[in-house]
């Protein structure tokens, strides 16, 4: 149903916006305010990152957010409670982003079941390739949740296909090599790459890594379904405070 939501939404919007927050950064009250602002600004779906002490695939900004959230006591249980509340309060889809150890220690089955019970619709686990994810994939399927895999410019056609087949809801295409929060050049290479992504799957495509400005989003229009804004919002909040989120988002998609 995540997929159908996206298709439906695309009827009247040529590009959707997915934003990202690190749960409990700087604290849960602030996180809540940020969600409110983002929803009010009209984002179409949101990524909730459960902090992990070893966020291998994240860059400096999200890395720092993860460890500060943990320093301020962002336990997994609290993240679930937070997710439960936002799902109740706002009627856009939410997906989890976190590293596999968080699921593993909680119990993969139990974790997925908890997701289902609180209505989180999907998950992005950057350190869990499908080859290692059998238990997770089965559990997600049982509960009709969406495992979202990552497409990369390095992935072969076959692999893109396979990743698409293992995914539900949408696929997450990273715009470039490297970690989150670094600059990306939006140009021909990216076009070609998005073309390859399109060929590999019928699922909606979210493009992330380095999306930071109105131009970036405009560039993506028509080539992907969803623009993902991650580190940049954290930068904006750190710089100008929570109230600056709404205008920033509105400017992005204007």
């Amino acid at each position: 149903m995540l997929e159908s939501y996206i298709h439906q939404r695309r009827q009247d919007k040529d590009i959707l916006l997915m934003t990202h927050i690190v749960l409990g950064y700087p604290d849960f009250d602030q996180s809540m305010k940020v969600v409110e602002e983002m929803v009010a600004a009209g984002v179409d779906l949101m990524e909730l990152q459960i902090p992990f002490s070893e966020p291998m695939a994240d860059g400096p900004v999200i890395l720092k957010a993860n460890s500060e959230a943990l320093d301020h006591g962002a336990q997994v249980e609290k993240s679930f409670e937070f997710a439960e509340e936002v799902v109740k309060r706002f009627d856009i889809p939410f997906v989890f982003m976190t590293y596999y150890n968080i699921l593993f220690k909680y119990g993969v089955g139990a974790f997925v079941e908890r997701m289902a019970s609180i209505g989180v619709q999907g998950a992005i686990i950057p350190d869990l390739p499908p080859e290692e994810g059998e238990e997770y994939l089965v559990a997600m399927a049982e509960h009709g949740l969406s495992p979202i895999h990552i497409f990369t410019p390095n992935s072969s056609e076959d692999r893109l296909k396979m990743l698409g087949e293992k995914s539900r809801g949408f696929v997450y295409s990273v715009a470039r090599k490297g970690v989150t929060g670094k600059e990306t050049t939006f140009g021909d290479d990216l076009n070609a790459y998005l073309g390859r992504c399109r060929e590999a799957t019928d699922l909606p495509i979210a493009l992330g890594f380095g999306v930071a400005s109105n131009e970036d989003v405009r560039f993506i229009r028509g080539k992907a379904d969803i623009a993902v804004v991650g580190s940049e919002t954290i930068r904006v909040i750190d710089r100008d405070g929570v109230d600056s989120v709404k205008p920033f988002i509105e400017e992005l998609v204007s």
């Binding site: 291998m56 590293y99 150890n101 990369t152 390095n154 490297g178």
Partner: protein, 411 residues
């Protein structure tokens, strides 16, 4: 990529999608090298001309007499060029890097030994080199940093997390996911995603192959026990693998007991029961983590053992009982080191000295007709600041104060 690199359920390759082709390439190059006898020959020649392999097996006559039990034989990895077994792994991966046509290497380092070894290899092979080192360790092991920089390596202090080995590994991966095209990540121990645990163990297997031959030649029979300290597990795997087919040889791995039991006090993942199974840094093993799966701080007097995880292969050998794991506390370690220096003129690194502690506790129970082998993984020259502090040597402090005065006057 297919599911592989598992040892009784430990190991695997939990890697970011972007690195999948890189790992496929590495796996292929490694398999290819492993099947090519010429590669192993080239490797052995390099180690016997650039380093001094085979390293000797030294009978510690005085220590043997002190404990009145089994003969104590010491495998001298400390005589390797750069002063530790780390050279074995690094030179092997250097050959592999050249084989893959890459021109840059990166590495993480705790004690600095692996960093120095990697920087050395890079200088010899003409690779660019970046070393990630926890900010805490940069201070603990400054002499090693000094030599890395002399060799042209860029040493980047890692300020995230606990600012030790595990964080250096994360940073190395962050570099790798960006620069995989020309860069090989020279992981320093038998940890991380497949094929690293298996590959590093393969390069270190020289230790065990030589040790087995040497002890048989010396004593005409196998040793009763083989001891090695365990950080990530590479020197232990290197020694132990020589005796896997000899069930009568008891294998003993010694971890960092630090200040004793209790999370945060030590780095003993298998000997104590503070660690639980988890997945981090790309592989599945026992980690010192909390209920949520967040990695916890560890402590050891020796930077090289101060690590949250352990080789998945050793985790499996722990579960199936083939290897016994013990822990040595900081104080025991400093004593064992001082004793070894005083009695044999050998200078085991602080990491290494963990293995000596356990051997000293036990050899007395064995018969003088028997023998044990201890792997002297490295020498302690690099540890002079740590050891001087542990021993509170007033002359050393006086010397440092005078040096500082000299620098202050220059400035």
């Amino acid at each position: 990529m297919d599911r592989r690199g598992y040892y009784d359920g430990f190991g695997g390759a939990f890697i970011p999608e972007i690195l999948v082709p890189t790992f496929d390439e590495l796996e292929a190059a490694y398999r290819d090298a492993r099947e090519d006898p010429a590669f192993w020959e080239e490797y052995k020649t390099l180690m016997s001309t650039y380093s001094c392999r085979p390293t000797p097996l030294t009978l510690a006559e005085n220590l043997t007499a002190d404990f009145g039990g089994a003969k104590i034989y010491i495998k001298r990895e400390d005589l390797n060029h750069t002063g530790a077994h780390k050279a074995n792994n690094v030179m092997g991966q250097g050959l592999l890097t050249r084989r893959m046509g890459k021109t840059r290497v990166i590495g993480e380092t705790g004690a600095g030994q692996h960093g120095v070894a990697t920087a050395t290899m890079a200088a010899k092979f003409g690779f660019d080199c970046t070393i990630y080192m926890g900010e805490v360790d940069v201070e603990r092991q400054r002499p090693n940093v000094f030599w890395m920089e002399r060799m042209g390596a860029e040493v980047i202090p890692v300020t995230s997390g606990s600012r030790t080995l595990k964080d250096a590994i994360n940073e190395a991966f962050r570099d790798w996911v960006t620069n995989m095209d020309n860069t090989h990540y020279v992981l320093g121990t038998a940890c991380g995603p497949h094929p690293f645990p298996e590959m590093v163990s393969w390069f270190q297997s020289l230790i065990g192959i030589e040790a087995r031959e040497q002890i048989l030649k010396e004593t005409g029979k196998l040793p009763k026990r083989a001891y090695a300290c365990v950080g990530g597990g590479s020197n232990a795997m290197g020694l132990f693998s020589g005796f896997f087919d000899d069930p009568e040889v008891e294998l003993v791995g010694v971890e960092a007991g630090g200040r004793g039991k209790g999370i945060g006090e030590h780095a003993a993942r298998l000997a104590y029961d503070d660690a639980t199974i988890g997945i981090a840094q790309g592989y599945k093993t026992y980690f010192l983590q909390n209920h949520d799966g967040q990695m916890q701080d560890t402590h050891s007097v020796s930077a090289g053992l101060d690590y949250v995880g352990v080789s998945p292969i050793l985790a499996a050998l722990h579960e199936n009982g083939r290897v016994r794991f013990e822990a040595a506390t900081d104080d025991e370690v400093v004593d064992a080191m001082s004793r070894t220096v005083r009695r044999e003129g050998l200078i085991p690194a602080l990491e290494t000295s963990h293995a000596f502690v356990q051997a000293f506790k036990e050899v007395g129970d064995l018969s003088p007709d028997d023998s044990v082998v201890i792997n002297q993984s490295g020498r302690a020259d690099k540890d002079i600041f740590t050891v001087a502090d542990a021993l509170k040597d007033p002359k050393w402090e006086k010397f440092i104060l005078a040096k500082a005065e000299e620098y202050r006057n220059l400035a």
